[in-house]
Subunit: 338 residues, 2 copies
DNA sequence: CAGTATCATGTAAACGTTTTATGTAAAAAT
DNA sequence: ATTTTTACATAAAACGTTTACATGATACTG
């Protein structure tokens, strides 16, 4: 069985290959009857237009690459999932760019667009894997790229962010409202913007309520589950223990709760724990985790939409901030009376 | 800044484009000194060979597509992660094919190879998204594809599987060894092979130990967390309750434990729970989940290796089965004395 | 009816590579 | 000195599309 390309279809339907191509891309500019003929031939021959051929000609790969630190993280996989769904609707395929937290790999993935393997980038990272080289007129020449959730230092890039500061403020305020005064925090990766913003929100809430900020209560985590475990263990050794822990992601909250249980503490009776993200499992742990919900679907939809604008050379907003929501479940409760 | 292609590099280094190409693909067949010249020019010009051009010519996209039901499932995301790592080493990029459990989408992704967008398929599904059309000589013409973890009905396809039956047997035996006699099971999706095999293993263990098989104790789940919740609730209403639950995945085990806690049962004192998969979080829940570990990294590595063989037209084993391992943690314990 | 606008199609030139067949100069063999 | 071999390098032909331009037919205008 010889390979069937556009030529074969053209021959079969008795028109030129140009007409075949037009029938498939711009059906409206070809007459009703030839359109019929061609479509029949396409169906009959089972013609599948070769993507590489068309990509080469159009200079569009039809791919986007999403650069993300770790697909294994439930928050990330949620995002990826919603992006993929959205991308498919728009006719794009997604190349997976799991960096495993290695900046070099991020760079490699970013290069995909220079190699013409991808048309655009969705970047979940705080460091830009691209050189920003201003031309003679001083304006830079970035590929279509949108920075999502984590903000890079570079301002020129389009961003879709979440109101991390406000989210963290709400979480902290929730604990304060429950009567907690000594509220520990387990942070995310040190140099991430999400982390900085959440920390700011935490401090703001304390300040507003006139609670003394104690830097000993901010424990350095890294968004991974074991850092939640580790830091909580440390907290338990404090002489004046906190009565609540605000973890900067649900995963660390899971770790924290685990440790508390293991040490015989009841959550939330002895200690409240609140997370961030609202990953799928947050409501299925015991106790169900109170958290700050990030609008995962909306994030995926929005960043993909923004990227689409960029890809098509249409105007796109430079900065979009999405809202979080406080979800109260069972891991937070009134502060224990001393 | 004009776009720099192979032509520009050729001009810059004073050789033909053919020589440039050879220098990059087959350095060994070009003389030392021209190789130098060319490499210098490549570096100086910052030349990035266009993937579409080369793909079109070589008829290889350099992509593989992994078709998987739901990236959001921690077991799946673990697999994807290990595949991606392996693929990258081999010079392949991975296209994400999250089907969201929709067979139509699976088909679309599978078609990527017919469109020349991908060279091969890693298929995590029990239904083959491809027509198997035997030619005149009776042999079928499948694209490079390997079926992973879930087995399709079609035998002709290369498979990398896990010893689900033996795994389930071990899990059940573990419970039996702890003195449990009434052991419930929460299954996965009805028509999956994993499910059938695990069920077989469960039954085998009971039979071997001379325990009466009670089909009322096999509850239909679907590998998703809420089915663990739902079915456990049902189990609690039984007059002669089981003393242990074997969930066919850790997610459902999480759900089960959650329900048990909510209803005031202590795990494992009142009821033992064992899962399957050993997802990353299994050891961080409270109590930590006893489970059957699937060798995620090995699965990714193996199936990618098999696919590679197929892609390169080298021989590949038709069937590989990987071993599971019983991991005893805290969610299983001695059967309560009545 | 000449002239012009409109429309449907065909022709051929790209797109950026790789690679086969061909050529050429230098090295080796006679 | 002449031929044969070797080692490179080149020119040109693919790969499978899309699309600018050309062409011819048809319809419309004054």
């Amino acid at each position: 069985m010889a390979k069937i390309g556009i030529k074969q279809v053209a021959a079969l339907s008795g028109v030129s290959i140009a007409t075949v191509s037009r029938t498939l891309r711009n059906p409206e500019i070809v007459s009703e009857k030839t359109r019929q003929k061609v479509n029949d031939a396409v169906k009959k021959a089972g013609y599948k237009p070769n993507k590489m051929g068309s990509s080469l000609r159009t200079q569009e790969s039809g791919n986007i690459v999403v650069i993300i630190p770790d697909v294994t993280d439930p928050f990330n996989s949620g995002i990826i999932c919603s992006i993929e769904r959205e991308a498919q609707k728009m006719g794009y395929s997604v190349l997976l760019g799991d960096t495993q937290n290695d900046p070099k790999r991020a760079e490699q993935y970013a290069e995909m667009v220079e190699y013409g393997q991808a048309d655009g980038i969705l970047l979940f990272s705080y460091n830009l894997p691209l050189e920003v080289v201003p031309d003679e007129k001083g304006n830079v020449n970035l590929p279509p790229i949108v920075n999502v959730c984590e903000s890079t230092a570079y301002d020129g890039i389009h961003k879709v962010m979440v109101d991390d500061e406000e989210g963290a403020r709400k979480a902290t305020q929730h604990l304060i409202d429950l009567g907690h005064k000594r509220i520990a925090v387990i942070t995310g990766n040190e140099n991430t913007t999400t982390n900085a913003n959440r920390l700011a929100g935490y401090r703001k809430a304390l300040r507003t309520s006139g609670i003394q900020i104690d830097d000993k209560l901010v424990m350095q985590g890294n968004y991974q589950i074991d850092s939640g475990v580790e830091q909580t263990k440390k907290l338990l050794l404090f002489k004046d223990r906190p009565t609540a822990i605000f973890c900067f992601c649900d995963l660390m909250a899971m770790g924290a709760i685990k440790v508390l249980h293991d040490h015989g503490y009841s959550v939330p009776r002895d200690m409240s724990v609140i997370g961030f993200d609202d990953i799928k499992f947050a409501e299925y742990t015991y106790p169900a985790i109170s958290t700050i919900r990030q609008p995962v679907d909306e994030i995926g939809k929005t960043c993909m939409h923004q990227l689409y604008q960029l890809l098509k050379g249409k105007p796109a907003e430079k900065y979009i901030e999405l809202k979080t929501e406080l979800i109260v479940r069972d891991s937070t409760g009134p502060a224990p009376r001393k």
